[in-house]
């Protein structure tokens, strides 16, 4: 036999990483450019460090104070996760009740909307007054901010079931429970996850707002200390970590979404 057909191996991790990098090339390039400009301009204009530190100063700060930052990141993360968890546990059943009961909808909706329009910054001091400096007020603020998008998206998702689908399973003899479990709920999942992705970001905001009002630890607390001490690098470092935490949590939700509703991704990734 002459030359055998070339064997094609699956792309190595290295080639995959390179491919991803080049794909994201433009985005990465812009970010790097922004950092470089920031560094150069700040130095050139002799901006004092307590007004605007350079990226290099911030990175050094993160490195040297990593323990302190991680400690407080974990503190805030706990508030976020508990508040978000509460939103899910309360919000989704609430949404189901709204979909299935006209009366409930008429009572709950106006309450929810008025609660949503009150800035949580205004509510936080009241919560602190009632619950003190512990973790509870922060969890509650995180809950109050994140639960509205979760409820709304769940309601919309559940209402998106087509009439014919309901008719179909009814003709097969499905009662309300089967209709809910086999049709409405799975149909609503993409929408629910949309709500969860928004909600987790809101929960981060809520936790920090709560910390600004009353806290003994957390990234929001650290920001206050940094302001009092005029330690602007620490201020920026806290913001960087807050942002990283938000991105990480969001991606975790997105990953769970991929696990739970793989078909949704297939549809959105389908090319003609």
């Amino acid at each position: 036999m002459s030359t055998a057909a070339p064997i094609t191996l699956p792309p190595s991790a290295g080639t995959r990483a390179w491919a991803w990098l080049t794909d994201q090339g433009a985005a990465i390039g812009i970010i790097v450019l922004i950092f470089v400009l920031w560094e150069v301009l700040t130095r050139a204009l002799s901006v004092p460090v307590y007004i605007l530190p350079t990226p290099s100063v911030i990175f050094v700060k993160i490195y040297t104070d990593l323990g302190l930052l991680m400690e407080n990141t974990w503190a805030t993360a706990q508030e976020v996760l508990l508040g978000f968890g509460l939103s899910v546990v309360v919000g989704i059943p609430l949404a189901v009740a709204i979909v299935y009961s006209r009366l409930f909808e008429r009572v709950a909706f106006p309450l929810m909307v008025s609660l949503q329009t009150v800035p949580k910054v205004a509510l936080a001091p009241i919560l602190v007054m009632w619950f003190g400096y512990g973790i509870l007020p922060k969890v509650l603020v995180a809950f109050l901010i994140s639960f509205f998008p979760i409820v709304m998206n769940t309601v919309i998702g559940m209402r998106s079931t087509e009439k014919e689908m309901i008719y179909l399973v009814q003709s097969m003899g499905a009662g309300d429970l089967q209709t809910f479990v086999k049709v409405r709920l799975p149909k609503a999942l993409p929408s629910i996850f949309g709500g969860l992705k928004v909600g987790i970001g809101q929960a981060v905001i809520g936790a920090v707002v709560g910390e600004f009002i009353a806290a003994e630890k957390g990234l929001g607390y650290l920001q206050l200390i940094a302001q009092v001490r005029l330690d602007t690098p620490l201020l920026f470092a806290s913001v960087v970590l807050l942002s990283l935490m938000g991105v990480l949590l969001f991606n975790i939700v997105a990953w769970v979404e991929r696990l739970v509703i793989p078909w949704h991704r297939q549809i959105t990734e389908q090319t003609e």
Binding site: Y167, S171, M172, G173, Q178, K182, L189
Partner: protein
């Protein structure tokens, strides 16, 4: 068939349907009270293939929904398999114009849905489900998701779903309306083949006079709203009907007759 399959719940493969003096009103937010059907009466013999043709909004879909038991009559009675219809008819399999497959389930799982909901033993029906998919050429697509299928393929799956429970009554509401002409012709042949095998009673609703005549034993012509049956034609053409049938003289005559009827009613007009 092999002897291993234990008794698949033997439902009658054909049921009679009696519609007597059925009138239907319903209320909408926009148009107030709509008088959809007026004193409709008709009988379907067991195993008969009947089509209903009529203009948009004449109430033919409503009639089908009433027969299925999913909505109630305003007056009159409907009997399926001798029993008065008071709720969703269990002997009925339904195919809508939109395929309404569940995106999150595989093709096979979708077909098995009625079995699951009725709480029947899946093992007994799995073979039937696979056979049905095979008979419409979708055997390799068992594990695919609806999102990966074309419109025609999805509609075929929904037909399999309707048939897996061996319904005595098959209700189809413009099932091929959303498909292109070629696929539609193929689907007509497929439906005929399946019906010839199962011989359930079929109520087929369509806009297409040609399709109605091709498939049916009888064609009922419905007037504009409020809908009522204005004429019923016996279609006397040999089965199985195929490509040759469409150029048959009698075929063309039947179509002409129905078309003239619509002209007379003002539903079609040349001026």
């Amino acid at each position: 068939m092999s002897g291993t399959s234990e008794a698949v719940a033997p439902s009658r493969a054909d049921v009679p349907v009696e519609v007597s003096g059925v009138t239907k009103y319903y209320r909408t937010a926009k148009s107030g009270t709509v008088h959809a059907l007026d004193e409709v009466s008709m009988s379907f013999k067991p195993g008969e293939f009947v089509s209903i043709v009529g203009p948009s909004g004449c109430g033919k879909s409503t009639l089908m929904m009433l027969i299925s038991g999913l909505i109630p009559v305003s007056s009159g009675t409907i009997r399926v398999a001798g029993k008065e219809v008071r709720g969703p008819v269990r002997e009925a399999g339904i195919v809508f114009q939109r395929d309404v497959l569940l995106d999150w389930r595989s093709v096979l799982s979708n077909v098995m849905l009625p079995i699951e909901i009725k709480g029947l033993n899946p093992a007994a029906y799995l073979r039937k489900a696979r056979e049905l998919l095979h008979s419409v050429g979708l055997a390799e697509f068992e594990e695919k998701y609806p999102g990966e299928l074309s419109g025609g393929m999805r509609q075929r799956v929904s037909i399999c779903r309707a048939l897996v429970q061996q319904p005595g009554l098959l209700l189809m509401d413009e099932p091929f309306g959303a498909l292109d002409a070629l696929t539609r012709e193929q689907m007509n042949l497929d439906v005929q083949r399946m019906w010839l095998r199962d011989r359930n009673t079929v109520l087929f609703i369509t806009h297409s006079i040609e399709e109605a005549v091709f498939l049916s034993d009888r064609v009922a012509v419905m007037s504009a709203r409020p809908g009522t049956i204005t004429e019923v034609l016996n279609i006397d053409l040999a089965r199985p009907r195929g490509a040759g049938t469409r150029s048959d003289r009698k075929f063309v005559e039947y179509i002409e007759r129905i078309r003239r009827h619509f002209f007379a009613q003002g539903i079609l007009s040349e001026s």
